[in-house]
C-alpha cells in the first residue's frame, strides 16, 4: 500500500498524534472516573494503580513523544521518497504542457494520432506519479447554488496533497515538535508531583495548590500537533479551516494551562477572541469561494482563477495588452455581441473570468474527476471586487493566526503559557499556519491583496521590533521578535518573494524554537525567573544553553552563513526589486532594512543581559544551574539546524540555498513569476543581490555595535538613553498603546453598549414582562372573585332554597298514624272537590 501511494506516510504522520491524543484522553478519563472508588473497591484500586495511581507518572509523555517521534520518522521517509519522484513529476508536467501547446488539435492527421499516443503515455506516467501524492475521500455532498454544479452537486472532501512546501513543512513541524516534546519532559517535571503549589495564585489560605497535570499537557500537545499537521496535509480550504479552528482551541487550552492565574486565563481568552476576528474574515472568504467556485479544492480554485495554458478548445491565446494572459487573473467587462453575452478582456474591468474545470491538461482520469464536456467549457465570471474581498478575508484569518498588525496583541500575552508551548506556538504550529496559508493560497490573491499583505507585514515587523527593544522579560523579547519575523515573512510573500517568505518560515521555525527552548532552559535554571533585570553573568553557569542560544541569536540577526541570513536576505532582495519597480512603495524596503539592524540590536541585548556582565541578582545567580539532558539535547540539535538548515552550494549566494531552491523549483506557483516579472527585472537591473548584501550586512553590523557598546562593554549606560527620551521609552514600553487603543475603541464601547442593552433589558423588556404578569395577577383576582361570588353563589342559593323547603316539609311527617289518616282523608276529599270542580268547569257536571 505504501509503495503504491507513499503519500500515505504523511497521512500516518498526521494520524499518529491524534491517536496519542485519544489514548491519553481515555487514560485520563478512566483515571478520573476511578479516583473516587480507588479507596474502597479493590478492583478499582488495581486498575487505578495500573494507570499510574494517585501520583501522575511520566507515561503520557512517552506516549506523546513516541507518537510525534514516529510521525517525524514517517515524514522524513516520505520526504526522501518525494524528493526522489518530484523531479520526474515536474519534467513530465512540463513536457505534457509543451506537447499540448504544440499539438492542440488531436485528430487532424496520422502524425497527430502518433503524437496522441505519446501524450497518453506521458499522461499515464504523470497521473501515476501524481496519484502517489494525493488522494481524497468524499465527506459530504451538498448542493450549491452555482448553476454549473447542478450535474455534479458540490462535494466536501477530506484529502491530502503533498507538494514540496507541505513535505518540507511536515519534516520541520514534526522535528521541532519532537524536540519540544522531549524538552517538555524535563521542563514540565514539576507537574509530576501529587500536589503542585502555584506561587502566582494567592488564596485566603496561602498559595493555591492543585493536582499535577502532566498528562493533560501532553494530551494537548498531541492535539496541537495533529491540528497543525492536518492543516499542512489538507488539499482543500475547508479541511484547513477545520484544523485552523482546532489549532485555535489548542492554543486556548495551552496558553491557559495555568488557568487559575488570572493573567493566564485572560491571555488565553485574548488569543482566542482575537483569532475569532480573523476567522470571521476567513469565513467570508470561504463563502465567496464556495458561492462562485463551488469547490474548496486548492488545485481546482487556482486552475479556475488563473488563466490556464490550454483548455478544452486548445491553447489559450488571450492577450492582456501586450502580455499573454497565461497564469494571470483575467479581468474584463460583460458586453453584448449580436445578442449574446460576450466577455471583453480589459485590465481595468469590473469582472474576473472563472475558467472552466479544465481536466484536459491532465487528461481524462478513470476516477471521479471526469466532468461532462458541455459543462466543462462554461466560462463564468466573478465580480473583481469580490475576488479582492475573498483574498482579504483569507488574509485576515492569517493576520489573526500569525499575529500581524493590527491583531498582533495576543501573541505577547500568550507568553503566559508554559515555555515549551510558547516555543511550539511561535516556531512550528500556530503562527506558522497563517504564513503557510498565505503561501498556499498565493495564486488566489490579486495584486491589491498582495500589496495589503506587504504593508501589513512591513508595519508589523517595524512596530514589533521597536517594542522588543525595551522589553525586559526574556520571553516577551522573543515574542515580539516572533511578531517581527512573521512580518518579514508576510512582507516577503507580499512583494513576490514567495520562496523567500516560506524559506524564512522554515529557518525561523528552527532558530525560534531554539531561542524559546533556550529561554525555557534559562527560566528553568533560574527557578522560574523571567526578568532579565535579575539575570546577568549566567554564562559560566549554563554554557550549553548560552552557546546554543548564541547560535539562535546570530541566525535571527541575519549574520551571513547562518540560516536566517539566507531567508532574510532573499526577502530583502524581493522587497528591493519590488520597490525599484514601484518607487512609491519605498517604505516596503526601508522598514525591513532598518528593522534588520534593530533586530540585531535587541537580540544581542537579550543575550548580553542574560549571560554576560555582572550578576544583577545574587540570589538568582547563586541558585542558577544547567538544565538536564532532556532539555539540552534538543537545544544542541536545534542549534545545528539553526546554523545550517538553509545551506547550499556555493554558500555565499543566498538564492542557492538548497531548501530554497527546492521550494522555488517544485512548489512556487507559476503566477508568482508572471505577477512580479517587473520586480525580477529590476533586481537584475539594479544589482539587487549585491546592494542588499552590503546594505543589510552593514545595518546588522551597526546594530551589533550598538548592542556591544550599550550592553557588553558598558561604554554607554542604557539608562541614560532611557532618561534622554522618556516619552519614546514610555511609548515603546506600553507597546505603542495598542492595548489601550483597543480598550478605548472597542472594548469600552462594547461594554457601554452591553450596559445599555442590559438596562434596556432590565427596564423595558423585563418591565413589559413584569407588567404582563401583574396584569394577569389582577385579572385572575377579579376572575376569582366573580367565580366565588356569583357562580358559586348561584349554586349555593339553589342548594339553600332546596334545603329550606325540605326542612319545612319534614314537619308534615309527624310520625302519628292518626294524623296520616287524617291527611289521607282530607287529601281524598280535596281530590274529590277538585275533580268535581274540574268536571263542572270543563264538561259541565259529573
Amino acid at each position: 500500500m505504501l509503495t503504491e501511494q507513499p503519500g500515505l506516510l504523511f497521512v500516518a504522520a498526521t494520524l499518529l498524534p491524534i491517536a496519542s491524543f485519544a489514548i491519553l484522553l481515555l487514560w485520563g478519563a478512566v483515571r478520573w472516573g476511578l479516583r473516587p472508588y480507588a479507596n474502597d473497591n479493590p478492583a478499582a484500586r488495581n486498575v487505578f494503580e495500573m494507570l499510574g495511581g494517585a501520583v501522575p507518572g511520566p507515561g503520557p509523555a512517552y506516549v506523546a513523544t513516541a507518537a510525534i517521534g514516529l510521525a517525524f520518522v514517517c515524514s522524513l521517509i516520505g520526504f526522501c521518497i518525494f524528493l526522489g519522484e518530484v523531479g520526474t513529476m515536474h519534467e513530465l508536467e512540463h513536457e505534457l504542457v509543451h506537447h499540448q501547446q504544440a499539438h492542440p488539435d488531436k485528430h487532424d492527421d496520422k502524425q497527430g494520432e502518433k503524437k496522441d499516443d505519446d501524450i497518453d503515455k506521458l499522461r499515464g506516467e504523470f497521473n501515476q506519479l501524481k496519484h502517489h501524492w494525493e488522494g481524497s475521500v468524499d465527506w459530504a455532498r451538498l448542493y450549491s447554488s452555482s448553476q454549473k454544479d447542478i450535474d455534479r452537486g458540490a462535494i466536501l472532501t477530506v484529502g491530502f496533497r503533498i507538494d514540496m512546501l507541505s513535505a518540507v513543512m511536515f519534516v520541520m513541524v514534526t522535528f521541532v515538535a519532537t524536540l519540544i516534546h522531549l524538552f517538555s519532559i524535563g521542563y514540565m517535571s514539576d507537574e509530576l508531583q501529587k500536589e503542585v503549589e502555584d506561587h502566582e495564585v494567592h488564596t485566603a489560605h496561602g498559595h493555591y495548590s492543585r493536582r499535577g497535570r502532566f498528562g493533560r499537557f501532553f494530551m494537548f500537545l498531541s492535539l496541537f500537533c495533529f491540528s497543525m499537521l492536518n492543516l499542512i496535509l489538507a488539499d482543500n480550504l475547508f479541511q484547513i479551516f477545520v484544523s485552523w479552528e482546532l489549532v485555535g482551541i489548542c492554543s486556548f487550552l495551552l496558553i491557559g494551562f495555568y488557568f487559575e492565574r488570572t493573567s493566564a486565563s485572560n491571555a488565553s481568552n485574548k488569543a482566542f477572541i482575537t483569532n475569532r476576528i480573523g476567522d470571521a474574515g476567513f469565513i467570508i472568504g470561504l463563502m465567496i469561494i464556495w458561492t462562485f467556485f463551488g469547490t474548496f479544492n486548492f488545485e481546482e480554485i487556482f486552475r479556475r482563477v488563473r488563466c490556464p495554458q490550454v483548455d478544452a478548445h486548445g491553447p489559450i491565446t488571450f492577450k492582456i495588452g501586450e502580455d499573454s494572459a497565461k497564469h494571470r487573473i483575467v479581468r474584463g467587462n460583460a458586453e453584448q455581441k449580436e445578442g449574446y453575452p460576450f466577455f471583453k478582456a480589459n485590465p481595468e474591468g469590473s469582472l474576473a473570468l472563472i475558467f472552466p474545470r479544465n481536466e484536459h491538461l491532465h487528461g481524462p482520469q478513470s476516477e471521479q474527476k471526469v466532468y461532462p464536456e458541455p459543462g466543462a467549457t462554461q466560462y463564468t465570471t466573478i465580480p473583481y471586487w469580490l475576488l479582492v474581498v475573498a483574498g482579504l478575508g483569507i488574509f485576515l484569518g492569517c493576520v489573526g493566526k500569525s499575529a500581524q498588525f493590527p491583531l498582533q496583541v495576543w501573541l505577547p500575552d500568550a507568553m503566559e503559557g508554559p515555555t515549551p508551548v510558547s516555543a511550539l506556538i511561535h516556531a512550528a504550529t500556530m503562527v506558522a499556519a497563517g504564513v503557510y496559508l498565505v503561501g498556499r493560497c498565493y495564486p488566489f490573491f490579486t495584486p491589491e491583496v498582495l500589496l495589503t499583505i506587504s504593508y501589513v507585514g512591513a508595519i508589523t515587523l517595524f512596530v514589533a521590533a521597536s517594542i522588543a527593544v525595551v522589553m525586559t522579560d526574556i520571553k516577551k523579547v522573543l515574542a515580539y521578535s516572533t511578531v517581527s519575523q512573521l512580518g518579514y515573512m508576510m512582507l516577503g510573500l507580499g512583494v513576490g518573494g514567495w520562496t523567500a517568505g516560506l524559506l524564512h518560515l522554515l529557518t525561523h521555525a528552527f532558530f525560534k524554537a531554539l531561542l524559546f527552548l533556550g529561554s525555557g532552559s534559562v527560566i528553568y535554571g533560574c527557578h522560574h525567573q523571567q526578568d532579565m533585570l535579575k539575570m546577568g553573568g549566567l554564562y559560566p553557569k549554563m554554557k550549553i544553553t548560552a552557546l546554543t542560544m548564541l547560535m539562535g541569536v546570530l541566525a535571527i540577526a541575519g549574520t551571513p552563513f547562518f540560516s536566517g541570513w539566507y531567508s532574510k536576505d532573499e526577502i530583502l532582495v524581493s522587497a528591493y526589486g519590488f520597490v525599484m519597480a514601484n518607487k512609491q512603495h519605498f517604505l516596503l524596503f526601508l522598514l525591513p532594512l532598518v528593522t534588520a539592524g534593530i533586530t540585531t540590536f535587541y537580540m544581542f541585548r537579550m543575550w548580553f543581559m542574560t549571560f554576560t556582565g555582572k550578576p544583577r541578582d545574587e540570589y538568582v545567580h547563586e541558585h542558577a544551574h544547567e538544565s538536564p539532558w532532556q532539555m539540552t539535547v534538543p537545544l544542541i540539535l536545534l542549534a545545528i539546524l539553526s546554523v545550517g538548515v538553509a545551506w547550499g552550494w556555493p554558500p555565499h549566494i543566498p538564492e542557492h540555498s538548497w531548501l530554497g531552491e527546492q521550494l522555488h523549483h517544485y512548489s512556487q506557483p507559476e503566477s508568482v513569476k508572471v505577477d512580479f516579472a517587473e520586480a525580477d527585472k529590476a533586481i537584475a537591473a539594479h544589482h539587487g543581490h549585491e546592494v542588499v548584501f552590503f546594505t543589510a550586512t552593514s545595518v546588522v553590523g551597526i546594530g551589533l555595535v550598538f548592542a556591544l557598546v550599550l550592553y557588553f562593554y558598558g561604554v554607554l549606560d542604557p539608562n541614560d538613553a532611557k532618561e534622554q527620551f522618556p516619552d519614546v521609552h514610555r511609548f515603546l514600553l506600553n507597546k505603542w498603546y495598542f492595548d489601550e487603543l483597543y480598550s478605548t475603541l472597542l472594548i469600552r464601547p462594547a461594554l457601554v453598549i452591553a450596559h445599555w442593552c442590559r438596562n434596556f433589558d432590565s427596564t423595558v423588556i423585563d418591565g413589559f414582562v413584569n407588567g404582563l404578569g401583574k396584569w394577569s395577577v389582577l385579572t385572575s383576582y377579579w376572575s376569582g372573585r366573580f367565580d366565588s361570588g356569583i357562580i358559586d353563589g348561584f349554586a349555593n342559593l339553589i342548594a339553600d332554597v332546596s334545603y329550606a323547603v325540605g326542612s319545612w316539609l319534614r314537619n308534615v311527617q309527624t310520625g302519628y298514624l292518626r294524623s296520616y289518616i287524617l291527611f289521607l282523608a282530607l287529601a281524598a276529599m280535596a281530590i274529590w272537590v277538585l275533580l268535581y270542580a274540574w268536571a263542572n268547569a270543563v264538561i259541565g257536571g259529573p
Partner: protein
C-alpha cells in the same frame, strides 16, 4: 222503587260505613280500635262492590269476585296487623299508636 234508587240506598250505607271506619281510624288511640276502623272501611267498600254486582249488568261477576278478594285480603291484613300489634306490645307494653312515632321525618 226503581233500581237506581235501590242502588243509591246501598251506596249510602257503604259511604256511611266507610266514613265510620275512617273516623274510627283517625280517632282511636288503641291499635285494635284502628284495626276495627280498617275492617269497617273494607266492608264499606265491599257493600259497594256487592251492590254494583246486583244492580249493574256489567259488574255481575266482577263485583262478587272483587268482594271475595277484599274479604280474603282483609283476613290477611288482620293477621299481619295483629302480629305487628303483638310485637309492638312486646316492645313497648302498650298498644297506643301515638307512641309509635319513631318514623317521623
Amino acid at each position: 222503587m226503581n233500581p237506581v234508587e235501590q242502588l243509591n240506598l246501598y251506596l249510602a250505607l257503604g259511604a256511611l260505613l266507610f266514613v265510620c271506619g275512617v273516623v274510627c281510624m283517625a280517632t282511636k288511640r288503641n291499635a285494635i280500635g284502628v284495626l276495627i276502623g280498617v275492617e269497617l272501611v273494607l266492608n264499606g267498600a265491599n257493600i259497594n262492590f256487592v251492590a254494583f254486582s246486583r244492580f249493574h249488568p256489567n259488574f255481575q261477576v266482577e263485583g262478587m269476585i272483587f268482594a271475595l278478594f277484599v274479604i280474603v285480603m282483609a283476613a290477611g291484613e288482620a293477621a299481619v296487623a295483629l302480629a305487628i300489634v303483638l310485637n309492638f306490645y312486646n316492645n313497648h307494653t302498650t298498644v297506643d299508636v301515638d307512641t309509635a312515632e319513631e318514623l317521623k321525618g
